[in-house]
């Protein structure tokens, strides 16, 4: 009984994490495809610092209130 109650409580969290993970993987795929597309045209010496700084610009907003 107790176990059933715990799993019923954990289920929404689990599905939320699963949704986040699936969408995260999809987003990584799209980002990789876009960067490969850019990599066909731009030399690595410009692309590398642009990708590093661009990725950080995106990630840093997570830590901004």
């Amino acid at each position: 009984m107790e176990q059933r109650a715990v799993s019923a409580q954990a289920s929404p969290d689990h599905s939320a994490r699963a949704t986040g993970a699936v969408l995260g993987i999809a987003a990584i795929g799209v980002v990789a495809a876009l960067l490969v597309r850019a990599g066909w045209q731009v030399s690595w010496f410009v692309l590398a610092p642009a990708v590093i700084s661009g990725t950080w610009v995106g990630v840093a907003s997570l830590f901004s209130p």
Binding site: P12, D13, S15, A16, R17, T19, G20, A21, L23, G24, A26, A27, V30, V31, L34, L35, R37, A38, W40, Q41, V42, S43, F45, V46, L47, A48, P49, A50, V51, I52, S53, G54, T55, W56, V57, G58, V59, A60, S61, L62, F63, S64, P65
Partner: protein, 211 residues
């Protein structure tokens, strides 16, 4: 941003939340992609104009990006002050009430995805802009890079369920952000120094060969 997502999901009745969350995330990611592509197009237009006026000079812009990155690395280390020009407005929160859930998510993320038209959360945005202005010969690449930046920015919302922040109070989110302050500063410095080092590694051999 984390507040917005949490609030948009939490205001729904319990039974609706799973669907609401998935919907908000999907439209948020699409909005980030669209906003990034939009600002990429604006930068591509500027870069293309520079390319027509002065030709292709990626090394010059690479050097300028390294200098700017060094200036902001010094600022991050509290050696000196450097102005940080930026738009101070953020995406209006009222959009969450005015528009439907899907439209609000899309527009909100599109606003965030425009990066340079919102408050900047990282100093690395400045060298990034200079690097992109130097590759006006390839405008599609600029749009692709900025679309990916917009998508990465929107994707950070996925951290809510993954870090178990979607069911906590705003104060707890504030505390979580505060607890990451030191590591964020270190990462910011690492990125700026990486830009300097990568730029120097590209420019110096060419200068030595010319000499």
């Amino acid at each position: 941003m984390l507040y917005t997502i949490r609030w948009m999901v939490e205001r729904e009745p319990e039974a609706e939340r799973h669907r609401a969350r998935a919907e908000v995330f999907v439209w948020f990611l699409l909005g980030g992609l669209a906003g990034g592509a939009l600002v990429g197009s604006v930068i591509a237009l500027l870069a293309r104009t520079i390319f027509y006026l002065s030709g292709s000079r990626p090394l010059l812009f690479l050097g300028a990006a390294a200098v700017v990155a060094a200036a902001y690395a010094g600022q991050a280390a509290a050696f000196w002050r450097v102005p940080r020009p930026q738009f101070h407005h953020q995406v209006p929160e009222s959009w969450r009430n005015i528009f439907s859930r899907k439209v609000a998510s899309f527009l909100y993320a599109a606003g965030l995805g425009t990066v340079f038209f919102t408050r900047l959360s990282s100093r690395a945005a400045y060298p990034l802009a200079i690097l992109l202005l130097g590759i006006g010969r390839t405008p599609v690449a600029i749009i692709a890079i900025m679309a990916s930046v917009g998508l990465v920015r929107a994707s950070t919302s996925l951290a809510l369920p993954l870090l178990h922040l979607d069911r906590v109070s705003s104060d707890r989110i504030d505390m979580w952000i505060g607890s990451k302050h030191r590591i964020v500063q270190r990462l910011e410095m690492t990125v700026l120094v990486s830009v300097i080092c990568l730029s120097a590694a590209s420019i110096l051999p060419r200068i030595l060969l010319m000499g």
